[in-house]
Amino acid sequence: MTSIEMEIRTRLDVIFSKYKPNSELTEFKEELVADLMEAYQDFAKQDKSHDEALDDTFDQLGDIDTVLRELSQKTSADESSQGDKKKKTPFFDISDDGFHVGNLHINNQGVRLGDDIVIDGKHDKVQFGEWLHVDHDGARVGKKYYQFNDDMTMNHAQFENDKNTTAPHWATAHHNVQIPISDKKFIFNYKDTAINFYTNDKTDLITVDEYFSRDNARYFAAVTEDDDRVLISQGEQPLLFHVRSLINIGLPKNFEKGRIKILNHSGRITAHDLILDTFDIVIHAGSFKGHNLKAKNAIWEINSGSIQVDELSLQGAEIFNKSGSIKLKNATIPHAKISVTSGSIQADNFVGGGQFSVEAGPLRLRVSKLTDDLKLRANASTVRVTAPETQDFNFDLSVRSGVINMERNTNINFEKNVDNYKRGVYGQNPEFTIDAAIDSGTIKIY
């Protein structure tokens, strides 16, 4: 048996140990060993170290508890009553899986009372009987369906094709505003819509194209200006009947001095191919998705929702997400300040430094190059950092309760090396420090 196989088996043992063994579970474990070993080989091509690849392998496997539960209950059900597919659960049950009384179930997925009342945190779904259903796509109340502004033209293809800024098929009204650029700050204040930023073909005009599913001039945005700012604010929104809208905002080329701030209470913002001085975003509930963005300053605040950006270059960035995820790919941020209260942060091919913090949730960084100290703070979390391959660094890692793994073996000098505190140097000429301190959980440096 190879050492990899041994380690995969050991980890599976831990996952399986919660369930009463039977032949089906044993067989499933054997199946997983082979599949995971191959997954490991694939990750090993991309990841540098053995443990990193192993962790990624198990991350990818995800949550197999549902399968295990089903398999472990199969025999016990077969023994008692044959062919009964219904899971036998006790009337009252509290365990790591949650809390159950009769048909009231409360677990980390949400709350369910029978099939009638469901609050599903994992899929962001709320349902009360047949009468009310709310999820990402829309809301149904009785027989009326309200689709959320999540337009199909907002897909990834748009990032490759700027010309997709034409009118959506449902639009019956189009409102166009052109605003000459200046060094004033441009503030777009929307409450609830889908907004798309792109680079237009103008030299000194910002173009705003608003599309609505119903025609009424009261819905159109108004532009006001004072000494230091231009404010574009959303028109009226009818309370009773939802009006679908899409806003395409074109920024001129060579707008490197442009200062833009966008507010959207709920809805979706996308942005691609922009070079600006300032690009600030405030979203209450919704998402921001970006591609190829460059700015000197950026402050992004999201109350609940997700941020996902590929190819990002920001001189200074402050990104907050109260609940939700932040996912950055190919990002260069010399001075980052990124925090999530509950949710996850992931940055791949990150160049820069700064502070990352999570209250609860995983933090995964793949750092290609440090240009400043890295300060990582978390309350309850798994912090995993792939340090740059060729760069030396200091490290200072502490966990109040949990474990620290420094996965590098050679070229390393510990000043302090105990279970929950490790400090030292990797290499000969460290310039920057990876400083991680968490309350409970795991820190791993690859």
């Binding site: 190879t2 196989e5 082979a34 508890d65 990402h136």
Partner: protein
């Protein structure tokens, strides 16, 4: 943009049967094939995949056998049965029939004269 789970859920079994119809395969390879066939746009959750294997085995659409790898752990292969192939053909017919109608239902507008 990702494909919504609700949209694809009913097709999981057909997707797996289609892959197995092109040759016996095992869990990790099937999940890789799904990624490749969808051009990296869709990733089937592993738990869903293993649950589907068990469901398909129970319904007689697939059978499983252990590989005879000489090194490393032995893989569990799945093979489509004649029943599975029949069900795949039926599912494909259903889909061919449904896809145009669904497409029309969710995109077309009613022209004047269509409704009397």
């Amino acid at each position: 943009m990702t494909i919504s789970k609700d949209l694809i859920r009913g097709h999981t079994d057909t997707i797996i049967l289609n892959i197995l119809n092109q040759g016996d395969s095992y869990g990790y390879q099937v999940s890789k094939s799904i990624r490749i066939l969808s051009q990296q746009q869709y990733e089937l959750n592993e738990a869903t995949l293993y649950t589907a294997f068990r469901r398909l085995e129970k319904s007689g659409d697939v059978v499983s056998y252990w590989g005879d790898e000489t090194q490393g752990a032995r893989r569990k292969y799945y093979k489509i049965t004649a029943t599975g192939q029949q069900n795949l053909a039926v599912a494909l017919q259903d889909w061919e029939f449904a896809k145009d109608i669904i497409n029309r239902l969710i995109t077309d507008t009613i022209a004047k004269g269509d409704v009397s």
